[in-house]
Amino acid sequence: MDLSTFFQQLANAISLGSLYALLAIGYTMVYGILRLINFAHGDIFMFGAYIAFYSMTTFVLPWWASFLIAILLTIAFGLLVERAAYKPLRNSPKMSVMISAIGASFLIENLAIVVFGGRPKSLPVPDLFDTIIHFGKVSIVSITFITPVITLLVLALLLFVVNKTKTGMAMRAVSKDYEAARLMGIDVNWIISITFAIGSGLAAIGGIMWGLKYPSLLPLMGLMPGLKCFIAAVVGGIGDIKGAVIGGFTLGILEIMTIAFFPSLTGYRDAFAFILLIVILLIKPTGIMGKNIAEKV
C-alpha cells in the first residue's frame, strides 16, 4: 500500500470513528445514569436520518432547516421512547428493562419498515458536504473532514455542560448514586430526560452524517451501528464521555485499517467490534478509561 492510499484510508477511518463516537456518547450517558443498554439508540439514529430525508425531499426545505428539524424531532422521539419503554420499569428487575428495550427497538424497526418502506432511500447531499479537496495525490470529500470536527466540537460542549454547569453536576450526582441524588432534592426524572435528549440529539447528528456519507437509508440501518457503538462505549469505559469518543475512534480505525491492510478479511468486518469487546473485557473489564469498582455485597 502506498502512502497516499494510506492517508485516504486514515481519513475514512477517522471519519467513521467520529460517527461511532457520536452514537457511543449517547449510550455511555444513558448507561451512566440508568445502568441500562438503550437498545433503541440505533433506531433513534435511523429515525433522525429518515426525518432529514423526508424534510429535504417531501417538504423541500433547505438543508440546514431540515437538519435542525430532524434533530429536534429526534430529541422528541427519544424522550417518547424513554417515557414509554423505560420510565414505567424504573424499579423493575434488570432483565425486564432490557427486554423492554429490545422490544422497543424491534417495534421501532418494524414500524419503520411499514411506514418508511423497505426500499433504500438516499439523502440528497448539499454542495458543502460534497466538495472534493485535493492534497497532492490524496483527494478527500469534505464530509470526511466535517464529521470529526463536529464530533470534537460536540465533545467540548458536552464536557463543558457536564463539568461546569449545575445540570451537569446533577447528572454526575445521579450517575454516582441514584437514590442519594434523589434524596438530595435532585429531580431525577428531569435529569434522565435531559440525558435522553442529549443522546438522541447526537444520534440524529450521527444519522444525518451517516446519510450524507453512505448512500442508502434503510429501516434496519441502525442495528449494526447501534451494537457497535455500545461496544465502543464499553471499550472506552462505560459512563465516561471521553472514553466513548476514544472507543468510537478506536473501533472506526480498527475496522477500516484491518480491511485496508488485509482485504481478505472484508467479509468479517462486522465481527471485529465483537472480538474487540471480548479482548478488552478480558484484559481490562472496565474499559480503557474505566475505573475499578469493587463489588458491594
Binding site: 420499569l89 434488570k94 425486564s96 427486554i99 423492554s100 422490544g103 418494524n110 442495528l223 461496544i231 473485557l281
Partner: protein
C-alpha cells in the same frame, strides 16, 4: 401419591402420542408443518428458559446456537453427491463432503458440536455480568453468522444449503420436545437446578454458600445450547433449506418473546406460549395479505406481523411482567386435590 402422579404423566404422554397419530393422518401438510414448528419452538423456548429464566443469565445467543446445530446436522445428513452439486461457488472441503450420518445421529452430533461451541464461548463470556453478557452473547451469535457467510468451502457461504432431506416429522419433533421437557424438568428439580436458581436469586450469596458459580453457569449454558442445537437441526430438516440470513437476531427475539410471554422461569408457561405464539404467527399472516370482503378491499400491510409481535412483547413486559404463568408450574395436585374445583367455588 407419587405413583399416581407418575401414572397420570405416563397416561397423558400416551394420549399426546395418540392425538399426534390421529392428527398425522387427518391434517394437511401445512397444518402438520405448523404443529412441527410448535414442537421446535417448545424445545428452543425451554432451552432458553433454562439459561435465562432458571439461571438468570441474560443470554441472547440462541440464533447462533441454532445455526451451528442446523448446519452441522444438515451437512451430516446430505449425501456426498448432493453436496458436490450445490457447492458451485467454491469447491467443497473434501472432509466435509465425505462425512455422512443418519438423521438421529446427525441431530445428536449437531447438538454436541453446539454444546462444544457454547463451551468455548462461555469460557470468556460467562465471567461477565448481565448487560455485558447479553451484548457479548449477541455478538458471538453474529460472529457465528459472519463466519458461516464467509467460509464458503464448509458452509457454502451466503448461498446456504439446499435440498436437505425433510426428515423432521411429528414423531421426531414432539418426541424430542417431550424428552427436552422432562430432561430439563429433572435437571432443575435436582441438585444442579437448585444451584441454578440460587445463582439467579443472588449470585454473591450463592457463592458464599459454596456454589461454584462458573461451573454451574457453564453447565446451564452448555445444556441450553445443546438443546438449541438440536432445535436448529430439526428446523433445518423441516424447512429443507438454510442460509446465514435465517439466523439473525430476530430469531432470538422470537424465542425471547415466547419465554417472556410464558413466564421467565416457568416450563409450563414456555410450552403454552410456544404453541400460542407459533399459531399466532401463522394466523397473523392474514393481515399481511390483501383482503376483500364484498365491496370492502383492505390492502395487505407487509411487515405488520412483526409490529404486532413487538407490540405484544412490550405490552407483556410493561403491564404483565410475570407473563402467563409467572414462575408457577402445572401440577397434578392442582386437579387431583381439588384445588381446581375450589377455585370455581370461590369465584361462584
Amino acid at each position: 401419591m407419587k405413583e399416581r402422579k407418575n401414572q397420570l404423566t405416563v397416561a397423558s404422554i400416551i394420549v399426546i402420542f395418540i392425538v399426534i397419530a390421529i392428527l398425522n393422518v387427518t391434517l394437511d401438510s401445512y397444518k402438520i408443518r405448523i404443529l412441527n414448528l410448535c414442537a421446535i419452538y417448545i424445545i428452543l423456548g425451554l432451552s432458553m428458559n433454562l439459561i435465562n429464566g432458571f439461571t438468570g443469565l441474560f443470554s441472547l445467543g440462541h440464533a447462533g446456537f441454532m445455526a451451528v446445530g442446523a448446519y452441522v446436522s444438515a451437512l451430516l445428513t446430505m449425501s456426498p453427491e448432493l453436496k458436490g452439486t450445490i457447492f458451485y461457488a467454491a469447491p467443497i472441503n473434501p472432509f466435509i463432503q465425505m462425512i455422512h450420518a443418519p438423521f438421529p445421529i446427525a441431530l445428536i452430533i449437531g447438538g454436541l458440536v453446539t454444546a462444544g461451541v457454547a463451551f468455548l464461548i462461555g469460557a470468556p463470556v460467562l465471567r461477565l455480568n448481565d448487560d455485558y453478557l447479553a451484548i457479548a452473547t449477541l455478538g458471538f451469535s453474529e460472529i457465528i453468522r459472519v463466519i458461516l457467510t464467509n467460509t464458503q468451502t464448509i458452509s457454502n457461504g451466503a448461498l446456504g444449503l439446499k435440498g436437505i432431506t425433510r426428515y423432521t416429522n411429528l414423531w421426531w419433533s414432539w418426541g424430542i420436545a417431550i424428552i427436552t421437557l422432562f430432561g430439563i424438568k429433572s435437571l432443575i428439580d435436582g441438585m444442579y437446578g437448585k444451584a441454578f436458581k440460587a445463582i439467579r436469586e443472588d449470585e454473591i450469596a450463592a457463592e458464599a454458600m459454596g456454589i461454584n458459580l462458573f461451573k454451574h453457569k457453564m453447565l446451564s449454558f452448555v445444556i441450553g445450547a445443546f438443546f438449541a442445537g438440536i432445535g436448529g437441526g430439526l428446523l433445518a430438516h423441516l424447512i429443507g433449506t438454510i442460509d446465514p440470513l435465517m439466523f439473525r437476531f430476530i430469531l432470538t427475539f422470537n424465542i425471547l418473546l415466547i419465554v417472556v410471554l410464558g413466564g421467565i422461569g416457568s416450563l409450563t408457561g414456555t410450552v403454552l406460549s410456544a404453541i400460542g405464539v407459533t399459531v399466532l404467527m401463522e394466523v397473523l399472516r392474514v393481515i399481511e395479505k390483501p383482503l376483500s370482503i364484498g365491496a370492502l378491499h383492505i390492502p395487505g400491510i407487509p411487515g405488520m406481523r412483526m409490529v404486532v409481535f413487538s407490540f405484544l412483547l412490550m405490552a407483556v413486559i410493561l403491564f404483565y411482567p410475570r407473563g402467563l404463568m409467572g414462575r408457577n408450574e402445572f401440577t397434578w395436585e392442582y386437579f387431583t386435590k381439588g384445588k381446581f374445583l375450589n377455585k370455581f367455588k370461590k369465584s361462584a
